[in-house]
Symmetry: C2
Subunit: 285 residues, 2 copies
Amino acid sequence: MVQQDYIPIGTMAKLNGTTVVTLRHYDRLGLLKPQYVDEATGYRYYSIQQNARLDMIEYMKELGMSLKEITSILESGDITLIETMLAKKNEQIHSQIRELKLRHDAVERTIASIERYRKSPVTGTIALEYIDRRYIYSKPCYQNFYEGDISSFEKVLIDFRHGLIEDEVPQFHTYNIGTSIKRNDFSAGKLIAKDIFIFADHLLSSLGFEMKVVESGMYACIYTDSYDNEIEYAHRLLEFCHEHNYVMAGDYICEILTEFTVFDDTQRGMFLRLQVPLDFSSKLV
Amino acid sequence: MVQQDYIPIGTMAKLNGTTVVTLRHYDRLGLLKPQYVDEATGYRYYSIQQNARLDMIEYMKELGMSLKEITSILESGDITLIETMLAKKNEQIHSQIRELKLRHDAVERTIASIERYRKSPVTGTIALEYIDRRYIYSKPCYQNFYEGDISSFEKVLIDFRHGLIEDEVPQFHTYNIGTSIKRNDFSAGKLIAKDIFIFADHLLSSLGFEMKVVESGMYACIYTDSYDNEIEYAHRLLEFCHEHNYVMAGDYICEILTEFTVFDDTQRGMFLRLQVPLDFSSKLV
DNA sequence: TAAAACTCTGACCTTGCAACAGAGTTTAAT
DNA sequence: ATTAAACTCTGTTGCAAGGTCAGAGTTTTA
């Protein structure tokens, strides 16, 4: 008759949709001690009432609490503690959802970026393109990386990223990076780095980041798949503009469309779009 | 001069906003081997270009990939693989968000439940209450637990929960449980359990669960904080109805408002609202 | 030249279990 | 009453992504 209610561990596990290992685990943690343990054999026997506690544990797990948290709450036996705990949990869940949404956006951006890479023209192509308004979060370049080699650019990049980390820009890795040269410098053929920036969502500004606008308009663009070519290709772009007597409407921009360092340890695998905005307002005259 | 570019591990960590331990970890995993290792001292030295790879790793981590996944992708060097990976990630993120939302609802339900408990009348109170329409997901009771003790009810409950697990009802722990007695049985004073159910969101039905409606209306209610009292209090409720010549409009319901098994291992700490809907349509005559 | 700061390896810790091994126990069927 | 099947025990190892020591050696700075 005492036996009647004594449930062995396997049965208990099945009844509650959990596993034997889990129950032993809880026993070790002191979270749920079996009501009776046979001293001779060490067999664990549970009572049917202990389902309630297991139930509660299961439930709190569902709410995303750790076993440690659950233990402390169950030991304290304080309802108000549970309430504050739940309120905290709710906060946590909220921020988790926010984070996941940011992550989702990040993934979307990357997918879009890869797709764009696929559909980009081959290296060397020069094209006139209409580009929509963009928002950038920029910092000045204190060093002209056009004078050094790629490691010189790396240094600037590291500085920049450092700044982004300090500013706590979320998911900054997923935003495309760009650099600029002042219009006058560029049109004079002087490659002097001005700013480095990320092309970011406008919503970053709603998070308190001060962003600049890159106006929409027609751009002369040239594509290249290596950072080493930038200088040569930038000159080509400049020649192109001169040949056609195009008037520049703003700063030159080097936009890093994709940057996968998958295949090569030694150098960034980049795909760049070098671009300069054109001024066609004279056509109105 | 060779030294120039060789970055020791601590500096590398700082540059990238990570830790020394992490870098050593990546080294062991083969995810990012330092460019040069001093054979005599074992000191790791990185090149500035390796920031790119670390960058990429950091980035993929941000997308929620495991180091294993990252390793395999970086080793394969296949862009299409990255694309399919990203698509999968997006799916994952979606379902994670869905899950979190369910969890959030669950926490809210529990908070509401505790609050309700706080504001509930004391044991023994009889009240006439208007109760809104409710939706229940129910199963018949194959055993009349009113004939046994609490363990008899536990058995029914276990069966029921088992059914819910099988049906894959999400977060079912957070829905309040109720049981019913047929109107005729109850009004004749015969306590014979009919159904056991959860009071669930209507949205469960949009997930394909067939739910029943408990109509809104005036209810005669009595509160108790112990399961052991149910029978006695149910009779009190019945008497109350007889005294006032109330006509019952439907089945008797025992609603478990809160059920915290925090303080006591041996028995569920319950707070019940026993209720029966009343028919006041005669007043229209 | 000495102290401070850095780095090394190796081992163990975290969470919430899962998957063994090898031995003993209970239950069911014969 | 056996015997086989099913169950349970303890104890160890493993997972992910590192964190946290200890004790020894190395590099940089004062």
